[in-house]
């Protein structure tokens, strides 16, 4: 075993102290008929070989292409401070701070994380943390049901499909139902939550609504009118859940400002690498009124016996280890280290830096919009957006594949992200952030223009046959 300390002599000493002849005796409780068949795994791989193998695997991923992918996960500049802090063994090899006397480091950083997200959302209580944006959104929906003792949730189709699917799965076992609020099909508000439909859904007195969920920006990148949505929800006695993208809160009104009761979201943009899907960070915040409904970890400020300020996990009676089947959630292991990353990111970048990140993304996205429109791909919706938007490309899926073969990750075909919605079939969802360069935009537009000029594709090529060009340079 590569990391074990025990020599044969050590083992002999231990066996003698225990009073058994061999290790096998310690496993005597395992009935013979239950013993395992031989473990069919490769031989141990020395680190040298393992490192070469992993480097080779990592090299098969192409992370050097111009990328316009977003849809909930965003490339951002991550200051070097984040990894410097995260790679400190004292942080990443500690566990849940059960013993506060020797865990003030973790505890204080969690308290600071709570405070930073509270500042960002202008809500009061932040739990640290949830698995990802989807799980946090599902937990938020469940919170509205517990708080209102109602069992019906309304979710805008502007909320990311993965989140809606996750919610469906989470609700799969119980009595709670959810319905989708459609998006406006056309006109100036096309692609945003249909307020009239929401109003209709809220009026069924027999089936009172616990919570209304809408996303800002929504999954199509469009800005929603959050205030009226919240007003309608509150008028019906429901709670209002805002699903937000945290970097956008550098410039967009915070959930607290439009009276959201709960805010959920994906914390990945706050200093966390894309990593093909995780670990990310589920953001969850609420008003003081809901403090006893919020699941997950909470750290509070208190004092020690000598009156020194110190931090401790608190209100633990909500959690599974104390309350078991009556707990607010089953969450135990969370995403604490990702919360630390988000805290370091926010504290490094500061209020002005966060505004700059969001505003620069918006500026780059506007350039992208112009360039793609000039290349023949106008926007699909007229409404305002921050840094992500859909464009209309005839044969989007095929064009997307041909652009990939030219080394451009041309956003996400809406036909794949939202397969059900015919109006989106020819859409590509594209995004820009502060790391998007003018060259990348120009290259994308050029390639797209050429593909569009070349006319409709001759036919799709099979998946594995796409030959992505080798990078001239690694980046």
């Amino acid at each position: 075993m590569p990391y074990g300390p025990h020599t044969a002599e050590d083992r002999a000493r231990m066996l003698a102290a225990i009073g058994v002849a061999g290790v096998d005796e310690l496993f005597a409780d395992i009935p013979p008929e239950l013993r395992a068949s031989p473990l069919g795994l490769p031989a141990p791989q020395p680190e040298l070989e393992l490192a070469a193998h992993l480097r080779e695997l990592a090299g098969r991923n192409r992370t050097d292409l111009a990328s316009f992918l977003g849809a909930g996960v965003y490339r951002h500049f991550i200051p070097a401070t984040v990894d410097e802090v995260l790679s400190r063994g004292e942080f990443y090899t500690a566990y849940t701070p059960y013993q506060p006397e020797v865990s003030q480091g973790t505890l204080q950083t969690i308290y600071e994380y709570q405070s930073l997200i509270a500042a960002l959302t202008e809500l009061d209580v932040v739990s640290a943390s949830h698995y990802d944006g989807a799980a946090a959104t599902a937990e938020a929906a469940l919170m509205t049901c517990r708080a209102t003792r109602r069992e019906r949730v309304l979710v805008s189709r502007g909320v990311h499909r993965h989140y809606r699917e996750t919610l469906a799965t989470y609700l799969g076992g119980g009595e709670i139902t959810f319905e989708e609020i459609p998006l406006v099909p056309g006109g100036p508000a096309a692609g945003t939550t249909d307020l009239a439909a929401l109003e209709r859904l809220l009026t069924d007195a027999d089936r009172p609504v616990a919570g209304v969920l809408a996303a800002q920006p929504n999954v199509l990148g469009l800005l929603e009118e959050m205030e009226p949505i919240g007003r309608l929800a509150h008028a019906a006695g429901a709670l209002f859940v805002a699903v937000v993208e945290p970097v956008s809160l550098g410039v967009l009104a915070p959930p607290g400002a439009y009276d959201a009761d709960i805010s959920a979201g994906e914390g990945q943009p706050l200093g966390i690498a894309p990593q093909y899907g995780g670990p990310y960070l589920g953001l969850l915040a609420c008003t003081d009124a809901l403090v006893r409904q919020i699941p997950g970890r909470l750290v509070g400020m208190t004092t020690d016996l000598d009156g020194r300020r110190a931090f401790v996990m608190t209100l633990r009676a909500r959690e599974q280890d104390i309350r078991r089947e009556r707990a607010a959630s089953n969450i135990c292991t969370n995403q604490a280290l990702c919360a630390l990353a988000a805290g370091v990111y926010l504290a490094t970048i500061g209020p002005h830096g966060l505004r700059d990140v969001a505003a620069l993304g918006a500026a780059r996205a506007a350039e992208l919009e112009r360039a793609l429109a000039d290349a023949g791909a106008p926007r699909l919706h007229p409404g305002p957006y921050l840094n992500e938007f859909a464009v209309h490309v005839p044969g989007a899926v095929a064009v997307h594949r041909r652009l990939l073969a030219r080394g451009v990750l041309a956003g996400i075909p809406l036909a794949e992200l939202e397969p059900g919605d015919g109006s989106l079939a020819d859409g590509l969802l594209v995004c820009a952030t502060e790391v998007t360069t003018a060259d990348e935009i120009a290259g994308f537009a050029r390639a797209l223009g050429e593909e569009l000029a070349a006319g409709p594709p001759a036919g799709d090529r099979p998946a594995a046959a796409i030959a992505v060009p080798a990078a001239g340079r690694l980046r």
């Binding site: 473990l39 305002p384 594995a464």
Partner: protein
């Protein structure tokens, strides 16, 4: 905490000074936001702190030094498997090819990660004896939810809708009953037998047509192998229910027991325990779930598929309608899974078996050494952890388990898990893991000997511990009564300064 000076640190908000920080991001064009409707704009910048890089990094470095961690010392926290987190795994997860890959990148450009995930699934299949594995769940508890929702889907698909209960032994981890609730089931608790195993009579009495599943942790949270597991599973299956194994304690039986071969229908792994991904101060981890044939159709989507030509791809939305759906966005906590993959690869079959052998050996050694000092409620050979109890010591001296835990801090050790499992009075769950040296184990025993002696001779020394930590015991009551959960600008009196 810096090597000298006040170890406690101001909050990051107290370090803030308007105008500090900056230099990271180019300034955007002045009109960058003009096209946004005024109503959607934020009125004032968020109240984030403004700190310059030097003060900020110092803040975190000094805070980090206030933590006890696996990288600084022994951490025998039972049930949590605080073993060594190999450093090469950290390096691997940070390789730009892995770290920078967008989760919606087309399959063609994600072949490295897809292959790794696929191979990891195969390795976990082999280790567990299950038919198939999903890597999607973000943690053990989410794995439990995944598993129990699949159980529900299974019964539903058979039209067997009367199964509303899940049987859970009393000693189970809190996530088990909490999961049952989340999945819409009622939890039925099963008391333990005298030997620490499930009480078969009580179990048989509870089992019936309303039973959807039993959730069993094996080895149990008492650190014991469930010897009657064959009998239990037979009864479960005979009653038409399914058997879920909480695999959080798999570290004890790698290569010795394959849950799929034992007859479990579904189980979860805790990669942050068995496969040594670091605990991160509470997370992230990952909770892959293995299933037997019966639950195969219900696995969450998307799965990673291998084509005939050896390439890999993700299942497409809607491709497998029997799936219970997704538990989260994207495919899983990939960065964590890279570490688990590396761990399995550099141990191999032989190393993994040795992991369990040494984990069990170390636990039995500590148990034998502590037997004269504390109560050992279950005397039979333990697995990778064992329960000790201060019940007798408390009666004799007034010193409780909590006091021992706090006093251990003074000797540089992290306390064991205390007051869990709930079924043992003054419980202490001790898990030394396989990566701690005999010298460390012996030093821990010596500290315990000294503490027990103190409990008799100078109990106040123990009950007022810790004495050498940066803070003394905390006022948890007022923390809960008047929760202060976020920084608000406060006057000095309301915010006690750290010194």
């Amino acid at each position: 905490m810096s090597v000298t000076g006040n170890p406690l640190q101001p909050t990051v908000f107290e370090l803030s000074h308007p105008g500090r920080g900056g230099g990271k991001i180019p300034h955007p064009p002045k009109d960058a936001l003009e096209r946004l409707p005024a109503g959607s704009r934020r009125a004032a910048p968020p109240a984030l702190p403004e700190v310059n890089e030097p003060e900020l990094v110092r803040h975190y470095v000094n805070l980090s030094q206030l933590n006890h961690a696996v990288d600084t010392g022994f951490y025998p926290l039972g049930s949590c498997t605080m073993k060594w987190n190999p450093k090469i795994n950290e390096w691997a997860a940070r390789l730009p090819g892995f770290a920078d890959l967008h989760p919606l990148a087309p399959d063609e450009v994600a072949q490295g990660t897809l292959r790794l995930l696929w191979e990891l699934e195969q390795a976990l299949r082999e280790i567990s004896g299950m038919e198939a594995v999903t890597l999607q769940p973000a943690a053990g508890a989410q794995g439990e939810l995944t598993g129990i929702l699949m159980v529900r889907a299974y019964h539903r698909a058979r039209g067997d809708t009367g199964r509303t209960e899940v049987l859970v032994p009393d000693s189970a981890h809190g996530t088990n009953p909490a999961t049952a609730t989340m999945a819409g089931f009622r939890t039925v608790s099963i008391p333990p037998a005298a030997d620490g195993g499930v009480d078969v009579a009580a179990f048989r009495a509870a089992l019936g047509p309303r039973t959807a599943a039993i959730m069993i942790t094996n080895p149990s949270t008492l650190g014991l192998f469930e010897t009657r597991i064959g009998e239990l599973l037979e009864a479960v299956h005979a009653a038409g229910a399914l058997a879920y194994m909480d695999g959080a304690n798999l570290n004890a039986v790698l290569g010795r027991v394959k849950p799929g071969e034992v007859g479990f229908d579904v189980m979860h792994f805790n990669v942050h325990k068995t496969f040594s991904t670091p605990h991160g101060g509470g997370g992230p981890g990952a909770g892959p779930v293995g299933v037997g044939e019966r639950l195969l159709p219900y696995l969450p989507s998307p799965r990673v598929l291998r084509a005939a030509d050896g390439s890999f791809r993700l299942e497409r939305p809607g491709e497998r309608p029997t799936s219970i759906g997704r538990l989260r966005s994207f495919v899983g906590n990939v960065g964590v899974l890279v570490r688990a993959y590396a761990y399995i690869a550099d141990h191999g079959a032989e190393g993994l078996r040795e992991v369990s052998d040494d984990a069990v050996l170390a636990a039995n050694y500590l148990k034998a050494r502590l037997a004269g000092l504390l109560d050992i409620p279950y005397e039979r050979a333990c697995m990778h952890e064992f329960v000790a109890s201060a019940a007798s010591l408390k009666r004799a001296t007034g010193v409780r388990t909590l006091d021992i835990a706090k006093r251990l801090i003074d000797f540089g050790f992290h306390p064991p898990t205390v007051y869990f499992p709930l079924t043992v009075e003054e419980a202490m769950l001790i898990e030394p893991t396989e990566t701690e040296s005999l010298e460390t184990l012996d030093a821990f025993v010596a500290a315990m000997e000294r503490i027990v002696a103190e409990a008799h001779d100078d109990p106040a020394m123990v009950t007022s511990a810790p004495h050498t930590a940066p803070v003394r015991r905390l006022d948890e009551a007022s923390a809960a009564r008047q929760p202060n959960l976020r920084w608000r600008p406060m006057t000095g009196r309301e915010t006690p300064c750290p010194d």
